[in-house]
């Protein structure tokens, strides 16, 4: 397994400070802020060049779900906004130096690709499996940049951000 990802921090108490992060902050300056006027939360950290980031959410610190986000560090702060209807929620950050070449489960699918399509990178995915049952294997879907989650969908392309192009 060539993965070098690192779980950074299970979030966290709220920190009221709105001061932006910088490169010398420990734990990448990871923090959560609350906007009292909207009730929204900001989850931010310092994105270091050469690192990519995955976000995970939990309500109980037991069940963690990857959000389909792969962020890239360019020596700037990165921030995502959140609202939740639950009474509590937790976020944590995972670091991967090369998300589209590492495969945490050793199944040949990259961590980044699996996260963007809603798979867990740590769970082995059968390369000859067909998650959407459209006749094309998941590895075939990856190689042809098609959606492994959508049956009989017209051919779509995966952009660098993982969004579906019409």
């Amino acid at each position: 397994m060539s993965r070098t990802a690192l779980p950074l921090f299970a979030a966290l108490g709220l920190v009221g400070s709105a001061v932006a992060q910088n490169v010398s902050d420990p734990n990448h300056g990871l923090r959560m802020t609350h906007d009292a006027s909207t009730g929204a939360y900001g989850f931010s950290w310092w994105g270091r060049s050469g690192e990519s980031y995955f976000l995970q959410h939990s309500e109980d610190l037991v069940h963690w779900v990857y959000l389909p986000i792969v962020e890239s560090g360019i020596d700037q702060s990165i921030q995502w906004g959140f609202t939740s209807s639950a009474t509590q929620f937790f976020l944590r950050l995972e670091i991967d130096s090369d998300p589209f070449n590492h495969s945490a489960s050793g199944d040949g699918f990259s961590n980044g690709w699996k996260i963007l399509w809603g798979f867990d990178p740590h769970v082995w995915l059968d390369p000859v499996g067909d998650s959407d049952g459209d006749g094309q294997t998941d590895s075939g879907e990856m190689n042809s940049n098609t959606n492994p989650r959508l049956k009989d969908h017209p051919v779509v392309q995966l952009s660098a951000t993982g969004f579906i192009l019409p």
Binding site: G47, Q56, H57, E59, V65, P68, G118, H122, K151, P166
Partner: protein
């Protein structure tokens, strides 16, 4: 298209893997197709007063309820209504007040309490981590919101965990296993009438203001030991009572809606850009 309803084969069950427990998301996010056909749903968050345009939606089954995840376009912030009321104080008065006020800071301490007898305390200053040992049971400080020094009011944020030395065969052995410094072991063994702490030497001297805050914390503890202990016992009793009540009256699980959007991103788009136009 209804993006809330992924096809049945996407309704994946949970899984666990002990070795990778730290890493794993045990609930599998069931990706729904992205709303690429123009059928873009909207969702409101009543608590936030925000309207969201959903770009992508999927759900995760976490056992007793579902979590709906909405990746949304950055919401417009509601317009602020300016008050026309007369100002309560003049600028000079505010400036005077500010001069008279103490500085406000946050004291974030990570505490590991062992056997309710001694606490290992860690904190950061810049990238430097510091470590100290205190005879205070930091569980008793959880109700303490702030601590004040001569010039600063610190909001106290103690992250407290508890350890037992039982498995090690006693505190002495535990301390040896954990490679505690001798001073900490002696401090834990001694019967103290006053609280004490010991800062473990590090590469850089700890900031003086933190030591002043720790001094103030220990002085406060010694002066309020009884009431802190009583408050702690009361909190614990309330917690147990709540736990018992919840066991007898378990709340019906509610589904959750999470909305999330990029605010500062190197990859994703801001509110005025469209998907795929990077």
């Amino acid at each position: 298209m209804n993006p809330c309803k992924p096809s049945p084969h996407l309704q994946k069950t949970g899984y666990t893997t002990a070795l990778l427990l730290v890493w794993l998301a045990v609930a599998f996010p069931c990706m729904a197709a992205a709303a690429s056909d123009g059928d873009v749903p909207e969702t409101n968050d009543d608590r936030a007063g925000l309207n969201f345009q959903v770009i992508e939606r999927w759900e995760a089954d976490v056992g007793d309820h579902l979590i709906f995840y909405n990746r949304v376009a950055p919401p417009a912030v509601p317009a602020v209504t300016l008050s026309t009321a007369e100002p309560l104080a003049t600028n000079d008065a505010v400036a005077t007040d500010l001069r008279e006020q103490k500085k406000v800071d946050v004291l974030m301490l990570f505490a590991t309490v062992v056997d309710h007898r001694i606490t290992e305390v860690r904190w950061f200053s810049g990238s430097q981590q510091y470590r100290a040992f205190s005879t205070i049971d930091f569980n008793q400080l959880c109700g303490l919101g702030e601590i004040e020094t001569a010039d600063t009011v610190y909001s106290l944020i103690p992250g407290v965990s508890n350890e037992s030395s039982e498995a090690s065969g006693g505190l002495d052995r535990y301390a040896t296993e954990q490679e505690w410094p001798t001073e900490a072991i002696q401090m834990a063994a001694a019967n103290q009438t006053h609280s004490q702490y010991f800062v473990v030497p590090s590469d850089a001297p700890p900031p003086a203001n933190i030591l002043t805050a720790l001094d103030a914390l220990h002085v406060y503890y010694d002066g309020h030991r009884q009431e802190l202990a009583e408050a702690c016992a009361q909190r614990e009793a309330q917690r147990l009572e709540k736990e018992r009540w919840l066991k007898e009256h378990p709340p019906a699980p509610k589904d959750t809606v999470i909305n999330f959007w990029p605010q500062k991103s190197s990859v994703y788009f801001d509110a005025n850009q469209q998907e795929g136009q990077q």
